[in-house]
């Protein structure tokens, strides 16, 4: 009897081949993703991906230029030369990890064995990455200017370009709240998308199609409901973070409200995209888990984006999580004005519009068709 139940269950489960494929694909994708994240791919130890470091050469001497060339030749760093103001702005906006400033008198200090006028301008929120960069710079100084005996002389002055003030939250808190909120939102919206399959299975979708309502209106109605739920959920999460952890949600209310709306739109379009892609609940479960985990991993919901290899950081731009998290960092940590955050909001809106347009086509093909 047990065997009969077992055989029947396997037959039923394996009847949905696409669903089974997605179930098998999920762990493979996760293994691959984390293997890349933790540098475990390949039999040999993989060379670390280079970190982009901005360089400001105020000394403009042969020694400083030679040293910059040496740093640039390292596999771990990729140097970009900038003026100090621009470099600071790029770091402030979160575009680069840090800027290494070679002050005037660098060449002289090297030849006299004096204290090197080196300063690193960085973002405290990315201290870990900065320390890794700094370790490479220090090592190279020791290697290049071996006659500098005292280690204290190669101390690089660290100067955060974003000042920590009492009204600013801990960057770790911003990461935790923003990252988790968006990831959980994606799961909620995927569940709402499942409601469309319920409508199909129960026959209410058929009745909707019989009525004078246009199929696209059914889809947009579902998306609207998902968006309302998303706005409520995100607001609830931020209010909780304010009450429980003191996240200053009233710091820039306009930007926060607009960003919540943009994220909710992008996420709800993702919900309808998911449900338009699949035909069964098993497929929905597999597909949603894969895409949500993938987007959350590369987008910085699970691991801070700065901890990931460069190519994965490049991929992050395809994730809703990335633009949302960076937007929240802009508001709470970088405290950028609304105009500076608008491009991220526009990208979220563009993602939403793109996914909605694709969903409309897929919805007609996969959900509406009775054949």
């Amino acid at each position: 009897m047990i065997l009969k139940i077992l055989k029947k269950d396997l037959k039923v489960d394996f009847a949905d081949k696409r669903g089974i494929l997605l179930t098998l694909l999920l762990p493979i994708i996760l293994i691959t993703l984390f293997a890349f994240s933790f540098g475990g791919v390949g039999r040999k130890k993989r060379a670390p991906s280079p970190t982009t470091l901005l360089v400001v050469d105020q000394d403009s001497s042969k020694t400083s230029q030679d040293f910059i060339a040496q740093l640039d030749s390292l596999n771990t760093l990729r140097l970009i030369s900038k003026q100090e103001t621009e470099a600071v702005e790029l770091v402030q906006k979160g575009k680069n990890v840090a800027a290494l400033v070679f002050g005037k008198g660098f060449e002289e200090a090297v030849s006299n064995g004096g204290r090197l006028p080196l300063e690193i301008k960085y973002d405290v929120a990315r201290e870990l990455e900065t320390q890794m960069v700094l370790a490479v710079v220090r090592g190279r100084i020791m290697h290049s200017f071996g006659d500098i005996k005292a280690l204290s002389k190669v101390n690089v002055r660290m100067n955060s370009v974003i000042k920590e003030t009492t009204d600013k939250p801990n960057p770790g808190l911003v990461q935790a709240v923003a990252g988790t909120a968006i990831m959980m939102l994606l799961f909620s919206v995927a569940a709402i998308g499942g409601g469309m399959l319920d409508e199909k299975e129960s026959g209410t979708l058929k009745r909707l199609l019989i009525s004078p309502i246009k199929p696209i209106h059914i889809l947009l109605g579902k998306m609207g409901a998902a968006m309302v739920v998303s706005v409520v959920q995100l607001t609830f999460m931020f209010v909780f973070a304010w009450l429980a952890f003191g996240l200053p949600i009233f710091m820039d209310t306009t930007s926060l409200i607009l960003l919540i709306l943009c994220i909710s739109f992008a996420v709800s379009s993702f919900g309808v995209f998911l449900v338009s892609t699949v035909k069964t609940r098993q497929q929905l479960n597999g597909m949603s888990t894969i895409i949500i985990i993938l987007m959350s991993a590369i987008g910085g919901s699970m691991i801070p984006i700065s901890m990931m290899p460069a190519f994965m950081q490049d991929m992050a731009i395809f994730s809703v999580n990335y633009w949302g998290i960076q937007g929240f960092f802009d508001i709470f940590w970088r405290q950028l004005p609304l105009l500076e955050i608008v491009p991220k909001m526009l990208i979220l809106l563009a993602i939403g519009v793109g996914m909605t347009l694709i969903s409309i086509q897929l919805f007609k093909r996969n959900i509406v068709r009775l054949e």
């Binding site: 129960s202 026959g203 209410t204 058929k206 009745r207 909707l208 199609l209 019989i210 009525s211 004078p212 309502i213 009775l370 054949e371």
Partner: protein
């Protein structure tokens, strides 16, 4: 009212509807009778414009549905085979939602909901959630949802599936009331009793084709099956049969101790009297009526519920 001309529909390599033609007059209850998978729901789905027509045409009230799906939707109400209601909403909320999709003004819609609930006999339960309803009650709300926009034609796709005889009777009463009010009804089923009770005219469908259509008496004339009385005796000699033939004018066949007499129930008393006169001892009497089941069997060689 409805004209279906050379209608065909295929799914992959299967021809679900194969070049069918029929006409439904205003105020008729037209039955589409056939086994599961015969193509009845496919025809209804094309009539309700949610399924594309491969070839042929459907005209409703003079309107070709293919290019005029929006207008056609206002003319027809559809009762789907599935109970297409939201279980978490009350009957009233469900009807309000479905009615709103047809753009009925709020006040008018509320009046229609109340009168429709009255018609189906569920006014007192309107605030209860659908999930608390019995199967039969859900079926009645399923019908009500199709009536709110006051359609001229009601398409009913197996509206009594899975319910008890009492609930079925309530639905029959609703159908009859609607028809008396002048509504044209297309009724699909694989229960011949329903068609026999409700329908003025019937189309018998099998494997996507209409194999016969007309009133029930017209269909009976089509097939060479007659109503008969079967009598089983203790003993039956050829002389006794010959004597019976002389006293009764009906055609009869003897099969050992059984006599099959081609006649109706009305003549049964006369047949029994004739048998008594000859001293024949009747062990069993069976009346074989000619119904749609018999007609379907005769036309297709299959049972309706095959």
């Amino acid at each position: 009212m409805i004209q279906v001309t050379n209608l065909s529909k295929s799914f992959a390599n299967t021809k679900a509807v194969d070049d069918i033609n029929f006409e439904i007059k205003k105020g008729e209850i037209f039955g589409l009778l056939g086994p599961n998978g015969a193509g009845k729901s496919t025809i209804l789905n094309m009539m309700s414009t949610i399924l594309k027509i491969d070839s042929g045409a459907i005209s409703i009230d003079g309107l070709d549905v293919k290019p005029n799906s929006k207008e056609s939707k206002q003319l027809i109400g559809v009762v789907p085979q599935e109970i297409s209601l939201y279980e978490e909403l009350s009957a009233y909320e469900n009807l309000l939602f479905w009615g709103n999709l047809y753009g009925i003004p709020s006040k008018e819609l509320k009046e229609r909901i109340n009168s429709t609930l009255e018609l189906i006999g569920l006014s007192d339960r309107k605030k209860d959630l659908i999930k608390t309803y019995s199967g039969g009650m859900k079926r009645r709300i399923n019908i009500a949802a199709a009536l709110l926009h006051d359609p001229k034609i009601l398409l009913m796709d197996e509206p009594t599936v899975g319910i008890d005889p009492q609930s079925r009777n309530r639905i029959f009463e609703v159908v009859e009331t609607l028809n008396k009010q002048g509504m044209t009804i297309v009724y699909t089923t694989h229960y011949m009793e329903e068609v026999e009770r409700l329908c003025n005219r019937i189309a018998i469908i099998d494997s996507g084709k209409i194999i016969a259509q007309g009133t029930q008496s017209e269909l009976q004339e089509l097939v060479n099956v007659k109503e008969n009385v079967q009598l089983e005796f203790d003993f039956l000699s050829e002389d006794q049969v010959a004597s019976l033939r002389k006293s009764l004018s009906y055609p009869m066949i003897q099969k050992e101790k059984t006599l099959i007499i081609e006649s109706t129930i009305k003549e049964l008393s006369g047949i029994i009297a004739a048998c008594n006169q000859l001293g024949l001892m009747i062990n069993d009497i069976q009346l074989q009526k000619v119904n749609l089941e018999t007609i379907f069997l005769s036309l297709t060689g299959k049972q309706l519920r095959d």
